[in-house]
Amino acid sequence: MSIIQTKDVKKWFGDFQALKGISMDVAEGEVLVICGPSGSGKSTFIRCINRLEQHQEGQIIVDGIELTNDLKNIEAIRSEVGMVFQSFNLFPHLTVMQNITLAQIWVRKKNRAEAEEKAMELLERVGIPEQAQKFPGQLSGGQQQRVAIARALAMEPKIMLFDEPTSALDPEMIKEVLDVMKELAQSGMTMIVVTHEMGFAKEVADRVMLFDEGQLVEENTPEEFFNNPESDRTKLFLSQIL
């Protein structure tokens, strides 16, 4: 049973068509890696899944709910789908602890003690419990991104979206974030990861997709994708980045 289903999703920014009909399915517990050249619509696509962008044609069904303009549906879906951004987007005026408890308290209506307990648990899981009382500005990039992952996990989402989570990080910090993501994947989380970390894709992904110019060019298992790609576009892409 697939938890995300998209059918022929199209999206325009003004005259420019960013998505030219994307159809795909993601099964529960699956880890999907999306790669592709810059500007190919990867971010736009995964942002459509939690309605940060609106698609204009086609269908997106997440956990059985179709994305329409209905506010109720949007909020229901957003609380099922966690998202991690390239630029972390932590709330700079709140401590790490508050960043993680805020949505639990206001959206999930948990009480504070419960929320803080959950937050500490998550901070342990991402390996930075000692930073709880600091502000995001006092942390390194890698630590900030791990807080961002904890913040998304605090909502207990069924699906996690990652939009180039390591692209803004110094090389020595990439590993600590990828480790957290690997652990998450092993725990059975459904994940869609936009990344250029091919090592991560080989090791963790169940499937790899290539986007180009708003189209889904190739969809394959990692072994096939890297060793025996179907399309020439994929070969070109792999030759450029490897």
Binding site: L71, K72, E75, L90, F91, P92, L102, K109, G137
Partner: protein, 600 residues
């Protein structure tokens, strides 16, 4: 200790006379400064000063002609404010601690200030008598002077030297507020202020032992101080009660309204009108708003929501031109505007609850203002608008900021809104208010506003001034805040969306706090400007603090001829203004520093 002085002298030498060039610069600058301020220094050092006009007119300065038998209202208002402040300080008691050395240091500096003023205070005061002859009276005798000088000097020495003894303890910074306030209140019982009054035969009663200011104010201030302290403890005790903070915020919101009506009105409200007309209207609209909030996301109602909106606006239009009571008309207008906002906010139960509170408070406020505003004042002050002086200045500043700040937040959000109608209205209000000089608005308030208000509604001049001031500074606040809003990166909105926050939560928990933080300095300077600009009300015939000093006292001839005593009065006024604005800017710097921790 000798070492210390040597060390200080050395660092002084290093910073001022490190080289020939800097020594020359130091000397030249000193010379220029002394020359520049020679007049001022001369003034400070001569005995040719006369503070009698200031001291003798303290009451005028504070409340102008407000009737004495109603002073209790003013005191109660001040007292209530302090009680609320005490409760709040208790509830929000900070854990910041101040070092003992800092406290001693501030005592030492304060003592030095007192010493300075005691030394330069004039001994004699000369003024023109009613018959035109110059009379010289001793107002500050040597004994009094020494009586202040000696204890204060000892006090200073103690606090200076105590810094070298290793006493190390810290004090909670909230507690310190009370200590600092305790000093002036306690001083009221000791300091005697010379004032001159007339007896029954129109003969002057010369200075001592009368000191009406301290005498009439020391008891109220002491009572207020004690209640302040008591409410602080009560606040600490209540700290852990759930939702006490929301209750306090709401009380703060309602307090000015209460005070306002309290000072302006003796309640002369016709209960039959209240029960027969106001309450039913209030109830009906409360219910209406409640229904809209509850059912707005019901799928059937939603389908017809635009029809509902259209009908409401039509009804409002008809209602406004019909013979309905004023309250019903304004409520109709309010519900129409409210209905536009509801769908966006009422998406979560949290949003619904806040909306309901907002709606109830708005209705209460409106009902209260309309009923109160339309009733007779009951306090009659011949030839003036209830009161003037510092109370008026303070009222304009506080109430102006109090109304205009939230208004500014709303206008700023409105100007950024996605709904074109809201955006256009807000932009219109901002641009219109900003492009007309404040003085024009003041004349508008005093002359034309009455024409625009519905028949039968008459507001006191001060209320009208407050209305235009609220919009005027509101527009400035709005533009400042909008600047802050623009500095928030798009990622913040997206992050809030992505964790499922409602638009209302997003704005109030994520966006606004950051936007306001970014513009604290500009907000404070706008507030300071508003405070100082309040003195412009003099041109429409209100007697603000400055006008009292300059015009009223300068023309006074009873009991003593103070004609032409502008100098000391203006200095006094300037000092008072300075104290308030300086405190405000210092506090805001502290807040900024504290918040700086959360900056990127």
């Amino acid at each position: 200790m000798v070492d210390l002085i040597k060390k200080n002298a050395k660092s002084l030498q290093e910073s001022l006379f490190s080289s020939v060039g800097s020594a020359a610069l130091t000397i030249a600058t000193t010379y220029l400064v002394i020359n520049f301020f020679r007049g001022m220094l001369g003034f400070a050092l001569t005995s040719d000063k006369d503070w009698l006009a200031v001291l003798n007119n303290m009451q005028l300065y504070m409340v102008q002609a407000y009737p004495e038998e109603d002073f209790i209202r003013v005191w109660l208002s001040v007292g209530l404010t302090f009680v609320l402040a005490g409760l709040s300080i208790g509830i929000w008691r900070s854990d910041d601690r101040v070092k003992s050395s800092q406290v001693f240091n501030s005592f030492f500096k304060g003592g030095l200030g007192v010493l300075f003023f005691t030394i330069i205070a004039p001994t004699n005061s000369s003024f023109m008598g009613n018959d035109g002859s110059v009379i010289t009276e001793e107002v500050f005798s040597m004994e009094t002077r020494l009586g202040i000088l000696i204890p204060v000097a000892i006090f200073c020495v103690i606090f200076f030297s105590i810094r070298f003894i290793n006493i190390n303890f810290t004090v909670n910074s909230s507690d310190m507020v009370f200590f600092y306030l305790f000093i002036p209140v306690a001083l009221l019982w000791f300091i005697k202020l010379p004032t001159i009054q007339l007896d029954q035969n129109n003969e002057r009663i010369i200075p001592d032992p009368v000191m009406p200011i301290a005498d009439t104010t020391k008891i109220p201030w002491t009572v207020i101080f004690v209640s302040f302290l008591a409410s602080y403890f009560i606040g600490m005790y209540l700290k852990n009660i759930k939702s006490i903070k929301s209750i306090m915020s709401l009380s703060w919101f309602l307090l000015p309204l209460l005070i306002f009506s309290w000072i302006f009105k003796k309640p002369q409200i016709d209960m039959s009108v209240v029960l027969g007309s106001d309450l039913p209207i209030f109830g009906a609209f409360l219910l209406w708003g409640f229904l809209v909030i509850t059912f707005v996301n019901n799928s059937i109602f939603k389908k017809y929501y635009s029809t509902y909106l259209g009908l409401t606006f039509l009804l409002t239009l008809v209602g406004v031109f019909s013979g309905l009571p004023m309250l019903a008309k304004t409520c109709l207008l309010l519900i129409a505007l409210f209905s536009v906002v509801v769908p966006a906010v009422s998406t979560s139960s949290q949003g619904k609850r806040s909306l309901l509170i907002v709606w109830a408070v708005a209705l209460v406020t409106l009902t209260f203002l309309l009923r109160g505003g339309a009733s007779d004042t009951g306090i009659v002050v011949p030839g003036s608008s209830i009161f003037g002086g510092f109370s008026l200045t303070w009222l304009l500043a506080i109430f102006g900021t109090y109304v205009s700040f939230p208004l500014g937040v709303l206008l700023a959000l409105g100007r950024n809104s996605k709904l074109p109608i809201i955006r256009i209205v807000c932009t219109g209000i901002i641009e219109l208010t900003r492009s007309v000089p404040y003085i024009t608005w003041l004349f508008f308030a005093s002359v034309t506003l009455a024409v625009f208000l519905p028949a039968g509604v008459e507001f006191n001049l001060i209320v009208r001034v407050l209305m235009v001031t609220a919009f005027f500074s509101g527009a400035y606040f709005a533009e400042n805040i909008r600047g802050g809003l623009q500095s928030i990166p798009k990622g913040q909105y997206e992050a809030a969306d992505a964790i499922g926050m409602s638009p209302f939560q997003k704005i109030s928990l994520i966006i606004m706090p950051q936007a306001l933080r970014a513009v604290i300095p500009t907000l404070v300077s706008s507030a300071i400007t508003a405070f100082k600009d309040s003195s412009l009300v003099t041109i429409i015939g209100l007697f603000d603090f400055l006008t009292i000093g300059k015009t009223v006292i300068g023309n006074q001839s009873i009991p003593v001829n103070f004609v032409g005593h502008d100098r000391e009065n203006l200095i006094f006024v300037a000092i008072v203004y300075w104290i308030f604005t300086f405190t405000l800017s210092r506090r805001s710097m502290k807040v900024e520093k504290k918040l700086g921790l959360g900056e990127r």
